[in-house]
Symmetry: none
Subunit: 134 residues, 4 copies
DNA sequence: GTGGTCTAGACCACA
DNA sequence: GTGGTCTAGACCACC
């Protein structure tokens, strides 16, 4: 298990981690009790500051998504709502859909054209690194 | 012409202005040569500091979207690509579509379900609060 | 690395910084990825307001010359054309040459005389005050 | 006689007029007693504000370069130093040469290359609108 | 009237 | 530590 971190993105790194854990738990890819990679491992892997990873984990702990297990590391909390099933995944998707819809509307883009473009984007998301470019 | 400013939003005010101008220009609602509301007018209208508006205008000038007309005010730059037509509106929409698609994929949401949810979001964007006021 | 700021000059301070960065990047003295002095450091060094420096950096970011690295500072953008080589330095020089040539022509000054005067000016620029300090 | 006004240039319009009169007088193209175009004529010709032209003329009057002749208009002052001869034209050219030299030096451009580019610029200045482009 | 420039100071967000 | 954001207020330059 590893995270997708884009240091250049507009969303702060710690928030990218938080949101990603939310999604992995909601989609059942991280079940209750599952271990998370250590702060140091994540920090090394992405060449980011350990404080940043720690901040994300602490925030997730405060939200009840993770639990800190002394000497072992962080794990997914047992009572993590939706863990193991995909019940509220749509709730996590809606905000970005709403934002995209808002922008499309402000730009005066035809809804059908927006939907078509979204279909393409979904295909791209399914096959992210298929290009032969080095 | 006036801006939609949400002082409570997380995006800074000056950036809300910048993005709104980008979209108004790209969608042809602001054609090349069109005047923008004066710094003071915008500041008074939204009860914000003139410097905040000025900052937005300065950035848009640095990006080549606006030109400064001394003693007269700011206007949309002539070479502002896409001004007057809707050619590159899609370019401004794609990033948010890509992000939404990425999230949907990470959540393991079925593409058809994501598209259906996007259609609903587009309807909501077109009729935000369903008020009868034009 | 430090800036040359003349608070008494007619050109605003923030613009002196902007132009200086442009030249340092174009001439390869600032390569892609290089760090810039922090806003606070520049502000302290020249006894100017941090916002003045910040304004210059923000404009350079809007122009694509600098990139913001969160929590770390500003750096020269990778795609900054000409970074690392001296390819487009002449492009930054031409406008002032054109202006000088235009003035010389309007004054009816003989081209040879203008060139001779320019040679002297170049010598002066190379040894501004003839002080022995390195 | 007419002025060359570039409303988009960085130098303010009123200053473009002032400097241009200085040069025309210094180079002998405007001799003592010669009439200048009326404020209204200049304003109409270049679609600029009459106040701007008036400000330039007033400044030139304060400098002793022009005299205001009631009911007739502005004329070149009799005691205008250098009028009729070209004695101090070089003094008016030097500042722009110094600026260009300074920029060339900051860019690390070879003096010989700078001089060569200046020769080209002088040729361009002598034949400004010779291109067949529409 | 237009925008520009700078200051002083406070508070926030990020790593 | 880094930069960001906003405010209040003063003064300038230009048209």
């Amino acid at each position: 298990m590893h995270f997708n971190i884009l240091p250049t993105a507009t969303t702060p790194i710690y928030r990218q981690i938080v949101e990603q854990v939310h999604r992995l738990v909601a989609s059942g890819q991280l079940v209750a009790g599952a271990d998370l990679p250590s702060v140091r491992a994540v920090a090394l892997q992405h060449a980011i500051n350990p404080m940043t990873v720690s901040k994300a984990y602490s925030l997730l702990e405060a939200q009840g998504v993770l639990v800190r297990r002394r000497g072992v590391g962080m794990a997914v909390a047992a009572q993590s709502f939706g863990a193991g099933q995909g019940g509220d995944t749509m709730a996590l998707l809606k905000p970005s859909l709403a934002q995209a819809a808002h922008i499309a509307h402000q730009l005066g883009i035809d809804p059908q054209a927006a939907i078509a473009a979204f279909e393409l984007a979904l295909n791209d998301a399914a096959a992210p690194i298929a290009d032969g470019k080095s």
